[in-house]
Structure formats: structure tokens, C-alpha cells
């Protein structure tokens, strides 16, 4: 029994993504990336659907691919995805205190990455290739260099203000 009943428009979106990749098995990863872009994560019912629509795949196989790669998330992600670089350079220049302060602020327990209000998802990445700016934090593709816990607090406050006034 599917957990969700979806809007018809969601299925139209999924169908058009599958069609844009010619419903080919070899394009599965690209299809999953597009779906994740659209829905911010990979919902189980959509994985099942992809597994039945594409020749040579099954729901279990698609699920296997989606759980193999770290880039895919099966949990809904927040509106703001915060990537905290923990590469060597960022680590020695204090990325962990920044990360920990965010984790505390969002009230995240071990194993959860998205704040309860669904606004923020906190991740670590292994190196963003911007070691000269260490420690680096990226929020939805915007790069914040030389972060400190205080700077981070101001940035999050600003985002929240925008959210509340919006």
C-alpha cells in the first residue's frame, strides 16, 4: 500500500523526466538526479514507479542504486542545504566547531540531518577544492569562506529573518 497519495502533477513531472532520458536503464542515475532536484529527495513511491516504468529495472534494483550513492537522499531534505567542508585544510582550520554549532542550533541528533521545521539540512563534504578559503561552508550553492561560529550564527539569523518576513 503506497504511503502517499500524490497529486497528478507529480506523476506528470516524473513521466516527463523519465521520457526526457528515453526511459533507458543506462540513464537511471541521471533520472534519479533530476527527480531529486525536483522533489528535493527520492520518495519511495517514485522509486517504485521508476522501477516499473523502465525496461530491465525493478523497484528493488532502483532502490539499490539510490541507496548505494551518497548523493541520493531518501529522506526529505531542507529548503537550505548546508554543506560544511571537512577536508584536511578546513578541518585543521576549525570546520568541526562550525559544524557542531550548527548541529546544536538545529537540534539534530546523531543520524538525523534535517531540522524539524524542514528548513535546513546539514551535511559534511570531503573537500570543495577551495582550501585557500578554509573553513568553507556552502549553502544552496553560495560559498561562504573562512567561517567561524559567530559568522555562521549571523548568516543563519539572516536566512531566518528572510524566511519570517517572506
Amino acid at each position: 500500500m503506497p504511503a502517499l497519495t500524490r497529486d497528478h502533477s507529480d506523476w506528470v513531472k516524473v513521466d516527463s523526466i523519465i521520457d526526457s532520458f528515453e526511459a533507458k536503464k543506462s540513464n537511471l542515475i541521471a533520472i534519479l538526479q533530476k527527480v531529486q532536484e525536483e522533489f528535493r529527495y527520492l520518495p519511495e513511491d517514485i522509486l517504485t514507479y521508476i522501477g516499473t516504468k523502465i525496461e530491465g529495472l525493478s523497484p528493488a534494483t532502483v532502490y539499490g542504486v539510490a541507496t548505494f550513492y551518497a548523493q541520493f537522499s531518501l529522506e526529505p531534505k531542507g529548503k537550505y542545504i548546508i554543506k560544511c567542508c571537512d577536508g584536511t585544510a578546513c578541518h585543521v582550520r576549525g570546520s568541526m566547531p562550525v559544524y557542531t554549532s550548527l548541529k546544536q542550533r538545529f537540534g539534530l541528533e546523531d543520524g538525523t540531518f534535517t531540522s524539524k521545521d524542514g528548513l535546513f539540512t546539514l551535511e559534511t563534504v570531503s573537500c570543495l577544492g577551495a582550501c585557500g578559503l578554509a573553513p568553507v561552508v556552502v549553502i544552496n550553492d553560495k560559498v561562504y569562506p573562512q567561517m567561524t561560529t559567530d559568522a555562521m550564527k549571523i548568516i543563519i539569523d539572516t536566512i531566518l529573518d528572510e524566511e519570517h518576513s517572506a
Binding site: P2, E44, S58, P59, A60, V62, T67
Partner: protein
Amino acid sequence: MANTLFINGKECEYTDEPNLLEVIRNNGFNVPTFCYRPDLTQFGACRMCVVEIEGRGIQSSCTMPPEPGLRIFTNTERTRRIRKIVLELLLANHDRECTTCDKSGKCELQQYAEEYGIKNIRFAQKKDNEFLPIDRDNPSIVRDPNKCILCGACVRACSEFQGHSVLGFANRGSKTVVQPIAGKHLSEVDCVYCGQCQAVCPTGALTIKSDVEAVWSLVTDKEKKTAIQIAPSVRVALGEEFNLKPGDNVIGKLNAALRKIGFDLIFDTNFAADLTIMEEATEFIERLKSGQNLPLFTSCCPAWVRYLETQHPELLHHLSSCKSPEGMMSPLLKELVPKYFNGFTKENLYVISIMPCTAKKAEIKRPQLTRDGRQETDYVLTTQEIARMIKSAGLNLAELEPENSDSPFGQYTGAGTIFGASGGVAEAAVRTAYEFVTGDKLENLDFQPLRGVDKNSRTKDATIDIKGTQVKVRVVSTLKQAEKSLREILEGKADFQMLEVMACPGGCINGGGQPRSCDNAKIKEERAAGLYKEDTELPYRKSHDNPDIQKLYNEFLEKPGSHISHDLLHTHYKNLFENSYKDLKR
């Protein structure tokens, strides 16, 4: 043309073997393996079959093709060390409660650990909180992920035999598991319960759900009466569990063993196979006349029926309305045994069937197969389970004197017996349909194009000339092949009028409940040969010639397709796609 290479210094010939492992086995040597199964693609996952090759180092023999002149060593210090480390690592991560495991004594991990003398495991054992839940809420198969060694044989079987891939790998690295989507139970997805996954599983990760204890308590209960029926393919495989050869027909010995265990009445599903042919051939002729619902699909295989119900409900009208032979036998026994035998009533009679099949355990629970609030068949035991029961009764099947089954419902024809091999149902149906239509005697009863159970015979076509009418018959085994035929029908390209489908490769002789045969592809051919041999030896070879069948129609069923036949012997099907986990756009 034969080439040569050297194994452990001995010059060995090889021809068309796909890999070194087969060459090694064909020359009297062996290497251990978990993941190599001759009927599945090569995987190279377990690294147990490693050999040392001069100038090439260590190679996995299951993935390396043979080359002339190779010098291979199977038991060097290095290969043995690799195998021991593999075993040690697997055992570190394994639920090692062997004594209570269903595969105990038949587990390859246990066997190799013993052969390689693994006594000390240097790695920390799995902690209690690392154990994953066991999936046992379906009637056929138990899935215990704590005993899985990730060899991938089940994943390949599900995909390559059934094209279905209910099982898949999930997650990565140390968190990898084999499971249906999102860790659902097999009962929540569209598993057809064919059991091929557990037939290729080297450990206790996938096992048959046992009904042995329930049946023992029926047998030992003096208030309850038991009638047992035995499927065609059981007789040519059960002997393997008692050191007899595959294909040896042990039906007489089995009858004797069952009497000694204490079953009250022993009948033969082959009789019901003859009955199925009477009904199905009649149905086929009617459809040929009307031109409707063609091609006719056979309905003997419960995995195939469930596949159609879950995947192609739009094609269910093609399916024969006949119950499977086992499904016909049970209500018939419950109706008629009380009339023929003293002390038996509908209420105190329990029908047990011995089947090569795990899907049968699910089939008997179909709501369509209940009568008066009870299941028509009370329990299904697989060939493996009855072997266990015979052993625990202290009997050695091989030494028993053959006995006959009880009468009536015990006599059968060659047509009934060949049901156990892919192509047998179609051949039996054609033998009868030909004589029903023409009224002439069919001289040549052997339809060779419909026979064959090896890897290359999974789709077979034959054209039968029924007095000028050309009837095309298609026989497939594995659901992957069936799906191809269904596509032809959906695209309007199909030119055949009958489609026989068996879900297991080669048919019931290779069913999921049969004795273990996954490391030798020849075994199913030997079992099939045993059935075709019995076919030629029996006094009657056409279902409608069976005197007990004729008597049954005269005294009780009137004629094929009669009202009472429909009540007892026919069934209907249900769209199981609706409301399933795949039914999303609602």
C-alpha cells in the same frame, strides 16, 4: 575441438566450458564456491574458487575462461590462505547458531568452514543489536538477513530466471543487505514464491518455511485422518536425499515410507494431472472452436498464476479456469474419500500434498481454494521436508520395499507423470485433445519439440496437425521467458494457441522445494529423463485412457466441464495489481 591445460600438473582436456571452474570440475578436481551457479551468470563475488596460475598469479576460476596450456594449481599455500580468510571474515559477520538453522548439515558455509578447519575467528562477533529482523510472514520462504553472505545468487536467480528482481542489493559497504525494496517483507511485494532464490542460497539466509511439525501432529493425532497426494516430479528427485541417483523413480518406496510414518491414505497427484487434462483439453477445444481467449494459458504453476495476477491482470482471461492438479485433487478427496473409506468424514480428513514447490504453500491459502470455511489442501510439504520427515522417522527410503498407492485416485497415465517436466502439460493436453477432436487413435505419442529442460530449452515451439488444423503450442519455463511471450500477445504478434508456463527453469523437476541441485545443471535433465522413462513404461499414456478417470466421470463428475466439475475443479483469478505497492497512480 578439445584443447588441453594443466591442473595440478595433470594434463586435462577441455572443450566448450565457459570458465576454468567447470574445466576443473569436469576433470575430477574441485574448488569451493558460494556464488557460482552453472545456470546463472558468473559473478566472481565470493573469491572462494581462486586458483594460482603460473605467470598469472591468483585468479577466480569462475570468471576466467580456459586457455590452452595454462598451468593451474588449485590447492597452493596462497589459495588456501585466501579461502581461509574469506571464511573467517564471513563467519565473523554471520549468525553462527548452526544447530537451530534450517540449512544445518546442508550449508555450504558450514561445510567449507569444517573442511578448512576454521576454529578461531579473530574478529569480533556480531552484537545483539546488529541483528536484523527475520522475514517469515509469507507461507513459503523465510528470509534471515543475518545469515546472508552477499553472494548475490538469489538476486541473480530472481532477475535471470523470473525477470522480476524482487530481491536486490541495498546500501553499500558493511551496511549492504539483500532485500525487497525498502526492506519490505516478501509478502508485501509481488514475490511469486517460486523459491528459486532459496534453491541457490548457499547458507540459511533463504530457507523453505517448514510445515513438518504441523504435519507430524496431524499424523500422531488419532482423532484426525490424513490423505496424502504426491506430485509427479517428487518421485524422480526424492531419492537423491537417500543417496539414490537423480531420476530414479522412488514412488513405490515413498508410498511405503508414508504408510510407515502413519499417513492413512496415499494417493497420487498424477491421477489429478490426468483429470486436469480432461478438463483443460476440453476447455482448449472449446476455445479453439469459439476463437475466444486464445492463446490458452496453462494454470498448473502457482508462481505463474500469481505473476499474471500481479503483473498482467489484463491477460487473466487467457488463463485456464482449471485448478492445478493438486488443487483439483484435494476437494475431490474431501468429497469422495468419506464415500469410499470407512471412518473418514469431511471433518476429520486432512489433505496433505507433497510438492516440489514452495509456491504451492502460498497457493493453498488462496481464498478461492477454500470450501466450507476450510482450506481444501491443509498442508503442503516440499520434497525436502518429506525427506526430513522420513529420516526423522528412522527410515531409509533406499531400503524400503515398494508399495502401491491407495485406490481409486492412485492409478495414473504417462501423460500425468510428464507434468513434472517443462513441456509435459502441453504434450499431455495435445495427446488428449487430438483424440477428442478427431476421434482417431494418436500413433506417435512423443512430441520431441516440446521436450528438453536445459538452459537452451526455455522456449519451445511445436505445431501439431489435428486433421488439417494446425495448432501451435508454445512452452516456456522461467517467467522471464513467459514475459517475452506475453509481450508478443500484447503486441498482437503471437501466433500460438496454447502457452504452457512453468516458473522454475525446466519445470517442476527443478522446483524450489526439490533437493538441492544448483551446483549441477545436469541433475534436472536426469530427473526429467526419469519421468519420460516412466511415461513409456506405464500401461496407459493418455489421460482419457485412465480407467479410474473414466470411472470417476461415469459415477460422479458426469463429463468434463459439467456443473459439478466446475464447482470442484475450476477456479477464478483476481487482479492483485490493484492496491499493490506498484499501484501508484490512483
